[in-house]
Symmetry: C2
Subunit: 192 residues, 2 copies
Amino acid sequence: MRALHEAILSQGIGIGSDIVKVDMFLNHRIDTALLNRMGQEIARHFAAKKPDIVLTVEASGIALAVAAGMHLGGIPVVFAKKSQAVNQSSDLLCAPVYSFTHKQQNMIRADKRYLPSGSRVLIVDDFLANGEAVRGMMDLVKQAGCQLAGVAIAIEKGFQPGGQALRKEGVDLYALAVVDSIQDGHITLREE
Amino acid sequence: MRALHEAILSQGIGIGSDIVKVDMFLNHRIDTALLNRMGQEIARHFAAKKPDIVLTVEASGIALAVAAGMHLGGIPVVFAKKSQAVNQSSDLLCAPVYSFTHKQQNMIRADKRYLPSGSRVLIVDDFLANGEAVRGMMDLVKQAGCQLAGVAIAIEKGFQPGGQALRKEGVDLYALAVVDSIQDGHITLREE
C-alpha cells in the first residue's frame, strides 16, 4: 500500500537488523488519516470473504482493527486481552503467545460469547514477524468453532518466517507492507 | 448521547453498586458502528477548541480515541503506555496512575516528541470514576508544556468523585453518558 510504504520510508526507523520503529504513526502516535486509509484497503481486500468479526490483540492492534471493522460495514472488533482483569468473565478462551518485544510469554484471552461458533473471523494486527500473536489468535478462532476469513497485517517482516509459513498453510494473509531487510538504518520494502 | 444510553441500558451489566460492564460493545467486543457515532459526537462537542492531538491510555481508550481523531479531521492520537517496552525510546514523560480495576499502580508513559510544547490536547478515555487515569494524562499534558483542550469520556460514573472535581477546576469535561447509580443489577443513567 503506497501511503504506508511512504510513511515507513520517511518516518520509520530501522534499528539493527530486525527492528522497524513506527512509533510516530502506528503504535504510539497514530496517524488517524493514514489509519483510515489502511482500514479501507483491508476492507477492499477482504470484503468478498464477508467477515463477521475482526479479532485483534491489545494494545497496538486495536486501532487498525477498528479502522478495518468500520470499513467492513461496521462489524464488531474483539480484542483479546493479555491480563486477567478483576471484573472479567470466567467464561474465557485462552491461548499462549510469546512476545519477542517484551521477552515473555503471555496468555491471550477472549470471551467465548463474542466469538460465536460459525462466525467468519478476520484477524488484524500491526506487525507480523515470527507469527506468534497470529498463531495465538488462530488458536482462539479454532477453539471458538469459528472460520478464519484471513489475516491482515500492517507491516510484515519478510525476513522472519511467520508470514511464509502461514501462506504455505493456505491462509489468506495480506500485509499492507513487507519489510525485506534492515541494514545500517536503511529499510528495504518489497515491491508491491 | 442517545445511542450510547440505549446500548448501556440494553446490553450493559450492573454489578454490585459500582461496576458497569460494557464488554459487549465497548471494551472487549467493540461495536464499531456505535463507536463511529461516539467519535462523531466528541468531535462535534470539541471542534471549536481546535485540538491538535488526542491523548489516551492503552488499551481500552484507544478505539474511542481513534474514532474521535478521525472525526476531528484526522488529527493524531497518542496513547500513553503502561509498561516499558524493550525497544521504546528513553525520552519519556511519566506519570503514576492507580488502577482500581487491576488494583495496582502503573506508570503511564508517553514519548515527549509526540506531545510538542504548545499543542492543544484533547484527552479521551472509556471510563471516568475517580479520575486517576485522566489526572495522570493531565500530568503528561502539563509536563509536555501543552494546553488541555478538554476531556471526553464515554461513560462517567457520576456517583464517584472524579468528574465533579474536574468540572470544579474548570475542565471542559464531556461524558457521553453518566451513570447515576447501580442497584440490584439496574443501571440508572442521568438524563441528558
